[in-house]
């Protein structure tokens, strides 16, 4: 059933999609973390309007599902405002990064809030400005706490990139679907290979996550 010749036939076709998958993943990771930090800090701001507004963003994007957001950005947004996002690429990247940015902003907020109060007080006693307090004392400690969860979300984002094939982007799954529709009897080999492709992409992320976990544990007194 799964023969070497079938694999060697399918493999190069799927390879054509790997570039799009990786590009979408990297762009989503960069934008996702950016949104996470912006939204996380805005939710801690003293400005009520800013806080409420980001709160709304976070709840809306966490409360609806990614596939709905993707379709909304791709099909509905251009109708509503009369402008295109330029390409399906940006619709895909924006959907993934806005969605996971909302989830991760909660981690940013939670980690900053859970840095012990005494640290802020000590930094104030040392006559640091509020910016210095955040940059030199609070933030370095908070980032350490964020690392394990951030690692998990890397893998979530990789899985999410498979959705962009639904809006016509030519990623791995897109080529898999084309192969399947041209020869249905090949479907098991095709999808198994697609899964293996994603798993191989996920492996470095899995090890990175473990690394981040061990970094985050280092220097923390065990109970």
């Amino acid at each position: 059933m799964i023969t070497i010749s079938a694999i060697s036939e399918i493999f190069p076709v799927l390879m054509q999609g790997i570039k799009i998958t990786i590009t979408v993943l990297l762009a989503s990771i960069v934008c996702g973390y950016l949104f996470a930090f912006i939204a996380g800090f805005c939710r801690l701001s003293n400005n009520v309007i800013l806080r409420k507004f980001t709160g709304l963003y976070v709840e809306v994007f966490r409360g609806t599902s990614l596939i709905v957001q993707l379709f909304w950005l791709y099909y509905a947004l251009p109708i509503l405002f009369g402008f295109d996002l330029g390409s399906d690429f940006w619709a895909g990247v924006l959907a993934i990064s806005l969605n996971y940015g909302a989830y991760m902003s909660e981690i940013v907020r939670g980690s900053i809030l859970s840095v012990a109060k005494g640290q802020t007080e000590a930094a104030t006693a040392l006559n640091m400005s509020s910016f210095q307090r955040m940059r030199l004392v609070i933030f370095p400690q908070a980032v350490k706490m964020m690392l394990p969860e951030f690692g998990n979300y890397l893998i979530q984002m990789l899985k999410a990139t498979s959705l962009v094939s639904l809006i016509g982007m030519t990623d791995i799954l897109y080529y898999g679907d084309i192969l399947r529709s041209s020869n249905l009897s090949q479907a098991p080999t095709v999808y198994l290979l697609v899964l293996v492709f994603y798993f191989i992409l996920a492996l470095p992320l899995i090890f990175l996550t473990r690394k981040m976990e061990s970094i985050s544990k280092k220097g923390v007194a065990s109970e």
């Binding site: 409360g63 609806t64 009369g82 990789l158 479907a187 098991p188 994603y198 798993f199």
Partner: protein, 238 residues
């Protein structure tokens, strides 16, 4: 700016999209129950005291967890009928229950494991000392203590799963997203039906998220109190 928004389309599309809600909710519940039960299978497979087997199970779980559920759905729906001997054609609903159910069972299995690991070692020793059979040990001592603390986490997974269920529209399960897309294709109006879908998700998932948050706080205080009464320091500091 929003001159393209039409309330007429909105009110026309609303009942049509709403027809799909029962399929969406039904699929969520079916997937969830499947994952709850299948999660136990993973938990017990990982406890088999044979290293190589353990290693294989761990990596199979990792494989399922780190590959996209969408591809897994396609595998079960399109490829499974073509697999020799064991393969058979499944309808979209069953495929979705299997695909999403298996995907999330690996997460649920981890939740169970954390619950079981959280049970004090003395409980195992005490039940052995009292001459309990393995079955009694699990049913009467370990699981009743392991599962309740994980309820908030399990509740979170219910909400996460609810938000993953629209993936099933890609293999033809006629939930709300599918209804909205077919309405959009027929009338060439995607804005209103897709917005309705988003609103429906929001009004269903937001209150449940708040409910679970409350449950979590309640459970935390309850289990902390217990720990204090038992004189155990674990988890008592808060």
């Amino acid at each position: 700016m929003n001159g393209n928004w039409s309330w007429d389309t909105f009110s026309e599309a609303f009942p049509i999209v709403l027809e799909g809600i029962w399929i969406t909710i039904g699929l969520t519940i079916a997937c969830y129950l499947f994952a709850l039960i299948f999660g136990f299978v993973w938990t017990f497979l990982r406890r088999v005291p044979f290293k190589p087997f353990n290693w294989v199970v761990t990596w199979v779980m990792e494989f399922i967890r780190s590959t996209p559920p969408l591809v897994q759905l396609f595998f079960i729906f399109y490829a499974w009928p073509m697999v020799p001997v064991v393969g058979m054609a499944l309808d979209p609903f069953t495929s979705a229950v299997l695909g999403l159910g298996i995907h999330f069972s690996t997460y649920i299995g981890e939740v169970y494991r954390s619950g079981i690991d959280g049970v004090d070692k003395g409980q195992w020793e005490a039940s052995t000392a009292l001459n309990f059979s393995t079955r009694q040990k699990w049913m009467k001592i370990i699981l009743p203590q392991a599962i309740p603390p994980t309820i908030p986490m399990l509740g979170n997974y219910l909400i996460i799963m609810f938000k993953e269920v629209p993936l099933a529209s890609t293999i033809g399960v006629v939930g709300i997203l599918h209804m909205a897309n077919s309405y959009g294709a027929q009338h060439w109006a995607y804005l209103e039906p897709l917005t309705i879908v988003a609103i429906l998700f929001l009004i269903l998932s937001y209150p449940s998220a708040i409910l679970i948050k409350k449950l979590e706080i309640k459970m935390n205080t309850r289990f902390d109190k217990k720990a204090v009464l038992n004189g155990s320091s674990k988890g008592a500091v808060s």
